[in-house]
């Protein structure tokens, strides 16, 4: 071990592959996570843009690229129904498990948590490296599943049984659904390693003076997120193992007796429960929703405090709210299952807990909005994205209430309303917060700022067109259009008067893609040509801005001591042009400077 330490001490002397590929430095791993997950986000977006062609122009050959996909997937350039199902299943899987979670937790969490708590690295650096590479393998397995006979998984990102068990059966591993299950086992293992590491790091490696109530809100959000990943993912792993047994070993965990498929009795011992899969899946997947949103709230809190030049309004209540949110998220899962016939008593319980969990969410959102009150707001690009997060997440959250009540959910379940609701939470909600984070911390990672003009073009275009995609979904959903239609509702009488919206949504999706071009250009151009910045370009107070820019291996020249809470901006008596007291400055230095 002394030898290993000796190696780490001379990190800059290490060969390329140890510094940038199999690195144990949390910042390199964070960047690896970030770049990989941004690629997966773009790939997942491409999948859905192809689906949107089929929804807007059902049965018409896809121009230009349609012929690339071969006769089995797109006969004559027209998307086959099975391929549409594959795109849908893999869009959801990739966006959630390979895109947002690795970006929010793997990238932002890895890069920022050790910096913000004043640590030199994570508690278990090798485990951290392993976590990334296990995630990477899971991603490769998921991508490879497109190329096996009969293509990738096609039973939705929820993989509901028995459909998922009986689709393309066979005891070979080279089946889309089987590979999906194996890929998920890799991704779950990765997030297990990551969450153990995060929790240990935050509890054990906080710098001197950094008490729990002095932690930046982002760190709190990551801590609760890590607990959700730690405790909610294993039941899905269990479910995945059971479904793998069903597919490969011929068991009937999720296959009820008397199953008839395509007019023929299905040969299996039977006696399983299709509902069991849903319980196990949603026991993960509801906390997963909070895994998607809590890091986003953390980023928005950091950006808002910094750009309003004010302490967060109600920091303590936000911390308690996020803790209660984490706890409650484990007892709301069956609100996804009101239509399964599980009974009114269970439905009543779960709609009560669902109403309860909206309280801490609203506490956090209200605190963030009230934090704006009376601030002298700097409308930087990260602040624009953070400000847009507030109403977008608000729409996403409030449209969830009718889905949480069994009576209204019976009408809205499985319609486009549901798609609109959760996309408002994760797309203009979480993804906007991720963009806020990228624009905010890019100067710390690279030493250069992103261009603000390109950033504003990116922001306003994205804001306009992302609403153009998801707002019409509420209208279609309330008209009763099912989310699972291959033709977007063209063959249904009740959908005729809202069919025109399909084209509007599809064009909005393609325009949204165009408005990501300025971001991609900005991202690479600024690496070389962006304006150089010093250590603390945003005049921020938290510890990551105390390091040299970009932070070297080991982060801090001297391990900082923390003297105050995380958001001490605009204290009474301070001059306006030096309006902040960083956490790391002793009182006499801060006073002398002010």
């Amino acid at each position: 071990m002394t030898e290993a330490r000796h190696h780490e001490a001379h990190h800059d002397d290490l060969p390329f592959w140890r510094r940038y590929i199999f690195s144990t430095d949390h910042k390199v791993i964070g960047i690896q996570y970030g770049l990989t997950s941004l690629c997966f986000l773009f790939f997942g977006f491409c999948l859905v843009m192809m689906m949107r062609w089929q929804l807007a122009y059902p049965g018409q050959p896809m121009p230009w690229i349609g012929k690339w996909f071969g006769e089995s997937r797109m006969p004559g350039g027209v998307m086959a129904p099975e391929f549409y199902n594959q795109l849908g299943a893999m869009h959801g899987t990739i966006m959630v498990f390979l895109g947002i979670v690795p970006l929010a937790v793997g990238a932002f969490g890895n890069y920022l948590v050790p910096l913000q708590i004043g640590a030199q690295d994570m508690a278990f650096p090798k485990l951290n490296m392993m976590s990334y590479w296990v995630y990477f393998c899971g991603g490769v397995i998921m991508l490879a599943s497109f190329f096996v006979p009969a293509g990738s998984a096609q039973s939705g990102w929820t993989s509901y049984a028995p459909l998922s068990v009986i689709t393309e059966p066979g005891n070979t591993l080279l089946r889309g659904q089987t590979m999906w299950l194996i890929g998920m086992v890799f991704l779950i293992t990765s997030s297990l390693l990551g969450s153990v590491n995060f929790i240990t790091t935050i509890i054990q490696l906080r710098a001197k003076g950094l008490t729990f109530m002095r932690l930046p809100f982002f760190v709190w959000a990551q801590l609760v997120t890590a607990f959700l990943l730690l405790l909610a993912f294993p039941p899905l792993e269990a479910a995945g193992v059971l479904q793998l047994m069903d597919r490969v070993a011929g068991t009937s965990f999720f296959l009820p007796s008397g199953l008839v498929v395509s007019g023929k009795p299905w040969v299996a011992s039977g006696g399983g429960s299709a509902l069991l899969w849903q319980h196990l899946f949603w026991f993960l997947a509801h906390p997963e929703v909070y895994v998607l949103i809590l890091p986003a709230m953390g980023i928005v809190a950091e950006v808002i405090a910094n750009n309003t030049r004010k302490p967060l309004w109600g920091y303590n209540s936000m911390v308690w709210a996020v803790l209660i949110l984490g706890f409650l998220s484990f007892i709301v899962w069956a609100h996804h299952m009101f239509l399964t016939g599980m009974g009114t008593a269970i439905s009543s319980f779960f709609q009560t807990t669902t109403m309860l969990i909206s309280i801490p969410s609203i506490v956090i959102l209200t605190a963030l909005i009230l934090s704006l009150w009376g601030g002298s707001i700097r409308f930087t690009v990260p602040m624009l994205f953070a400000l847009a997060f507030l109403p977008m997440f608000g729409i996403g959250g409030l449209t969830g209430l009718p889905l949480g009540l069994a009576t209204s959910d019976i009408q809205l379940h499985d319609t486009y309303y549901v798609i609109g609701h959760f996309h408002y939470v994760v797309a203009p909600g979480t993804i906007f917060a991720m963009f806020a984070g990228i624009y905010h911390w890019y100067p710390k990672v690279t030493g250069r700022k992103l261009n603000a003009t390109l950033g504003r073009i990116h922001f306003w275009g994205s804001l306009l067109f992302i609403n153009g995609i998801f707002m019409p979904m509420f209208i279609q959903g309330m008209a009763g259009v099912s989310r699972r239609l291959y033709d977007g509702g063209a063959s249904y009488l009740h959908a005729q008067h809202v069919l025109g919206l399909n084209r509007m949504m599809s064009v909005s999706a393609w325009c949204l893609a165009l408005f990501q071009i300025p971001f991609v250009i900005n991202f690479f151009w600024s690496l070389w040509k962006g304006r150089k910045t010093e250590e603390n370009p945003w005049d921020a107070t938290t510890l990551e801005w105390a390091t040299p820019t970009p932070p070297p291996h080991g982060n801090f020249a001297t391990i900082p001591t923390v003297h105050r809470g995380p958001y001490e901006y605009s204290l009474p008596g301070s001059e306006t042009h030096k309006d902040f007291y960083p956490q790391w400055e002793p009182d006499h230095v801060a006073k002398a400077r002010a």
Partner: protein, 202 residues
């Protein structure tokens, strides 16, 4: 550039009373509880919904199961003894007790292998019934955990034991952490044995 020293790798952090790996392994075990908890919940749900359910005693061998239970309990005791030996700076006794732990784990797997092959011999497979499915899944997953424990303990008994010479405190911590995991694997079996072997059918 200064060397990176992750603090509390060996000694305890005063305000939490834990060294990093000890906290880490407890968190890992919490997730393991959720994994096996979910599988036991699946057992309950499937059993409640089933029309008939086999009586374990009529299919499985209770004597073999009992012997295996005793072997695992014994291995937990020797695991603690190996850690206690290190605490008393007796490395030779550590090697003895850790070797006994490994031996117990291997004997457990051998007996389990005999049980499995007897089932296959009688044409009892995971696909035979829901009971057999959950029997093979739960014991199989537990068996994988036993193999994982053998790999870790085998490393600490053989090639990894050199650390005792260079960093004795750190090595003792490793044994403690491996021991926590091993006790968990035993505990899972203590729940599996009555659930699968002893509970009456319906």
């Amino acid at each position: 550039m200064s060397a990176i020293e992750i603090p509390y790798n060996v000694e305890e952090r005063p305000d939490t009373g834990l060294y990093n790996a000890k906290l880490g392994v407890w968190l890992f075990l919490a997730s393991e509880v959720m994994l096996f908890g979910a599988l036991f919940s699946a057992y309950v749900l499937l059993r409640v919904g089933a029309e008939n359910w086999e009586h374990g005693a009529e299919i499985l061998s209770i004597p073999l199961g009992t012997v295996n239970t005793l072997i695992l309990i014994l291995s937990s005791v020797t695991m603690v003894m190996s850690w206690a030996s290190l605490k008393m700076h007796n490395f030779a006794r550590y090697k003895l007790f850790m070797g006994m732990t490994l031996l117990c784990a291997l004997v457990f797997l051998v007996i389990k292998g005999f049980e499995y092959s007897a089932k296959f011999h009688h044409h009892l497979f995971p696909s035979t019934s829901t009971y057999m499915a959950i029997y093979f899944t739960l014991t199989g997953l537990h068996g994988l955990h036993v193999i994982g424990g053998i790999i870790v303990n085998g490393y600490l008994w053989g090639p990894g034991a050199g650390m005792w010479q260079t960093e004795p405190q750190r090595f003792t911590n490793r044994i403690e952490v491996a021991g926590l995991y091993w006790h968990f694997v035993d505990l899972v079996w203590i729940f599996l044995f009555p659930t699968l072997y002893l509970l009456p059918g319906k």
